[in-house]
Point group: C2
Chain length 637, copies 2
């Protein structure tokens, strides 16, 4: 089934044809130990098989078989867009296979590809919810049918396979599908867009991977058509779909958060490929406004449960944070594109924050249950969810094994399998380290190959040791991202000197490196108190505790029996370091008295309090049902 | 169409056969001027015709004609339960006709009754959404069909007509419908409940009005059946329907707020009629817990937009307050029943708060647009909604003329038309004044008739003057409710003495009154600062300003051009009285700087500020789009 025109350069999920920084593919950066190796191992050993098993169980995989046998009109399982979960799983498998040889996984992957391929219609259309006998016609529900959204994930899965270079089975399916999309929606096709953006970035990337510019042109059409009211409005308004204002005119992130961010990623791809700086700058401005006014301290976005949407500026309630795992992933996709384009370390800062505190909050420590939304304040302990229970509620109570709308687990799987792609980049004359983990990096600069090894217990420790294993005989730059929280307290030592960070976001060493040379970055990860912007009403009078890149949380599991996190206050000046995170003095607050909770001022707390441990937010609810909060009211005067 | 067995005692909406306090009907308490007369006039002259016109326009009235002509299967307008809006309008018209003679309204009322009556099926079933050719079968969707909910409002409309004593046309329709319900769902019928409680209170009241105990028995069955999982669960869980726990076992108000409160009202009616103190006390406990932990300062309830539901304890975000107008009305229904049962003034306190600050916030000052939800913090000014625009969003931005789900305007209309019923009660030996307005009260005590006149500019003024016009020649008690906020600062003067309130909630004068005697109540309505219970995270560090029973708000209309309410803080010790409300010093807060809104503590505000007026919350957004907040951050130290 191979077609020789489908041979792509090896690389990671995003390979722009022009950029300030060049991304490094899975062959160039390999995670070899520590925090992230553990997560990738969890993904391979638990999350991937978990997703496979559940999708067989709930019939989503079987939908493809039913299309192949012509029986899908009689019965189909799951909501409209469950095909996309299979595609995201395929993408995750492809990256995982690219990471290391796994014959058993390869067999599973190929079998699943064959089932998907068998469901493709003769004209290239692929989808199990529309267009077959007994089903609604193709593209009859652009608002909520999600057909292009699903197609996009198929293309992404094909890109993963192309870039890891094994076979063309799925890429060939993707090509036929993309060609169908061009015929259907291209310059001579219908003027329509999908209610859920995704296909834009996918088409752009598939264009990059195949060299076929028709796909990029279609991506551009979809981006340009948006914002002109092509979709029927929903009760949340056209901004839910980002169909209220054209991308290049919008001033902030708004509406359904995952939709907003997938669209931003696609718009950036289109902008970068066509040198459309106005479009790219528009998205960059939206990113800035969204980060400054509509983002949780965890990097999560989405302040409303109702429409899974951004709220108004500074509307960031911790107890109703939606902060969907997929929105975190989509945010990383956008920040990564902006980072590659500009080299600005602020984008890598947000990637780190979001990866460690939103995305990694999703999987339970055994990789068999997931948060869909990621609250910052849980007032009542949830009930343990059964391992065989299909979850109808995306609400945060406890992590659940599977959801009726189950976009997050497979999205997490594909992100973890390809996460090494976010750690480093190169330019002609240097290497940039953005994220810190145990890894080996080998790539080719203009003056020759460079190879280095990074060793660290980060984020547990702030020390990062880089050993040069090979370097050109010419000067190159080795650049370390300095997170904004580290400020000028970060130091870098090597070759007998110690450099101190400025506020540029980088420590750069321009030098002719020699093999065996060692550089040590020290980041100040001791716990610190963080205050919110006073315009964030919902957390006024409260502080958070962070430790390095990790947001910490107080969980009732670490409080005396009978305490909850709901009636406490903390003495911020008692903060101390522990092995797991931090510790500070927590008091039980004097409650109001009487029937009516409004009236005279409540007297100051008399309780002496206890010392309580704070631990990484992302790990909460792994020790059973609990109450939890990130924002800690300070002792009232 | 009259049937002689349908002659009820005259009275108001709730006439228990036993109670601590006896409610007074529209013949016994008449509002004759002031604040509430204005509102009743607005209702008669604007709100009622507005509702009639809109329901003709959107086809909801025509649905009944279509049933009568057998064409409803071809087309029906509106969601499942729009019949109930017609019934609530009929109830409102009936109370309004009971209030004073209005021949033109009488003609409109009778014409509408005739159209509804013509749609009744031979077996008594009445409803336009189910059971006719081309429609789903009757009672095929107990979760969301709302058939019993609609039936309940028809019964309530009939009760209004019976108690105001004009004709039996609608009561006869109601009787046939109620008999149908007994056959269908009674002791020998199907064991089912409606997804939206309402019919319970309606059946109980129709039983009281007709003397037919079968209806009360059916109400009891519906109450007892609830909480055992008869309804299919929704994604919000069975508590959405209050089908999670039996009423008598539940410990707090929970789930969809209107459902919860309508159910509580019905359960109380059943409990009172059957002397089931355990059930009544269970509801009283739920009321107490709900008030202390799940109620906004405005009396509004419902902290979630998503499921229109109560949140967790102390989860009361002002900017996402749902506080549906109908939930306010339902809350008054529950509190009124508890007040009649116990005589505890706390119930009347909440009625006053909810009437003045939630329910009266709904209508625009011209009575032709309405808030459905009632936020306590509007961050962005809305856009003016067109007067001919059917509104798809119940979200608060600006008041809208009509909604696709339009439960609130007609509910408001029936409440305003019968609002005099909540002002006073009697016992064998006394009269109790609960709410203060210009009114005349004439009723019969054990020792003879009593007649008095109340004159006041309340809530603008704290002075209430009561003139005895006639009284028995025996000692009776005249009791004045003292709102909790007035505490021991209220005084009552008459017959040469002055009484000062204790904390009992009452000032009672036991005396042989003589005609012409005058008593003057002075309530301390000057503005005051109110602090929230420290467990209400969302308003920590903020205060509200109240003036007598009115919650005040800061609206951007009263700030300098370019200011919003989102970046201000107030100096609480500058509070002063104005004619409209209050005034205090407001500063613009120093904003955080930089990209990321979390980090070091923001420096204290330097701005000198301005004096800004606060006005009654219920009147906000009557002067054009604005930002608004009830909870005001105090100057940070």
């Amino acid at each position: 089934m191979s077609s020789p025109d489908l041979v792509a350069e090896r690389g990671g999920p995003v390979v722009p044809s022009r950029s300030a920084l060049r991304p490094l593919g899975p062959d160039e950066v390999r995670i070899i130990g520590g925090f992230w190796a553990d997560k990738q191992e969890l993904n391979a050993s638990a999350i991937l098989p978990h997703c496979e098993t559940w999708m067989e169980r709930v019939g989503w995989t079987t939908n493809f078989d039913r299309v192949a046998t012509g029986t899908i009109g009689e019965h189909r399982d799951g909501i409209e867009f469950v095909d996309s979960e299979i595609y995201k799983l395929l993408e995750a498998m492809a990256w995982e296979l690219g990471r290391r040889t796994q014959p058993e996984l390869d067999v599973r992957y190929r079998a699943l590809v064959a089932r998907v391929a068998a469901a493709q219609d003769d004209d290239g259309y692929l989808g199990t919810a529309f267009g077959h006998p007994g089903q609604p016609p193709r593209y009859s529900d652009m608002e909520f049918g999600h057909e292009l959204y699903c197609a996009g994930f198929l293309l992404q899965a094909a890109v993963a396979r192309l870039r890891t270079g094994f076979d063309d089975d799925l890429p060939a399916v993707a090509r036929r599908l993309a060609d169908h999309l061009v015929r259907e929606f291209g310059p001579h096709g219908r003027v329509a867009i999908c209610g859920h953006p995704e296909v834009e970035a996918a088409l752009a990337e598939f264009s990059r991977a195949t060299g076929d510019t028709r796909y990029l042109e279609l991506a551009r059409l979809f981006v340009d058509r948006r914002g002109h009211g092509l979709l029927d409005p929903v009760r949340y308004g056209r901004e839910y779909f980002q169909d209220d204002v054209p991308v290049r005119d919008a001033v902030t992130m708004r509406g359904h958060a995952v939709r907003a961010l997938y669209l931003a990623a696609g718009a950036l791809d289109v902008a970068v490929e066509s040198g459309d700086d106005q479009l790219a700058e528009a998205v960059a401005r939206q990113w800035t406004s969204g980060v400054a006014r509509r983002t949780y301290i965890t990097g999560g976005v989405g302040s409303h449960h109702q429409d899974e949407a951004y709220g108004d500026d500074f509307e960031l309630p911790p107890d109703r944070a939606y902060a969907e795992t997929c929105a975190g992933i989509a945010s990383v996709m956008v920040s990564w594109r902006l980072l590659l384009r500009s080299g600005d370390s602020r984008y890598a800062d947000l990637i780190e924050r979001t990866l460690l505190n939103t995305i990694m909050a999703s999987p339970r420590e055994d990789g068999r249950a997931f948060f869909y939304s990621n609250t910052l304040h849980q007032r009542t302990p949830g009930e343990q969810i059964l391992d065989n229970e299909l979850n109808d509620r995306a609400e945060t109570i406890m992590r659940a094994p599977w959801f009726r709308v189950s976009c997050c687990p497979t999205n997490l799987a594909r992100t973890l399998a390809s996460v090494s792609g976010y750690f480093a980049t190169a330019t002609d004359h240097g290497v940039q380290l953005h994220q810190y983990g145990d890894l080996v990096l080998c790539t080719e600069l203009a003056s020759g190959p460079v190879s280095l090894r990074v060793e660290t217990e980060y984020p547990r420790s702030g020390r990062v040791t880089v050993t040069i294993e090979a370097a050109p005989a010419h000067e190159i730059s080795l650049s370390f991202r300095i997170p904004a929280w580290a400020g000028d307290r970060a130091t870098l030592s090597g070759a007998g000197t110690t450099l101190t960070a400025s506020t540029s976001g980088w420590l750069e060493v321009p030098k002719v490196f020699s093999a065996g040379e060692v550089w040590v970055l020290e980041l100040p990860i001791e716990p610190r108190i963080t205050w919110p912007d006073p315009r964030i009403d919902a957390v006024r009078g409260s502080v958070a505790v962070e430790r390095g890149p990790l947001v910490l949380a107080l969980e009732s599991t670490d409080l005396p029996r009978g305490w909850t996190v709901n009636d406490i206050e903390v003495e911020e000046n008692t903060l101390a370091t522990t092995e797991q995170g931090a510790r500070l003095r927590v008091r039980r607050r004097t409650a109001g008295s009487g029937l009516w909770p409004y009236g005279s001022r409540t007297p100051a707390t008399q309780d002496d309090g206890i010392e309580a441990d704070l631990r990484p937010y992302a790990e909460w609810a792994n020790r059973g049902p609990s109450t939890m909060r990130v924002w800690l009211p300070t002792v009232s005067s």
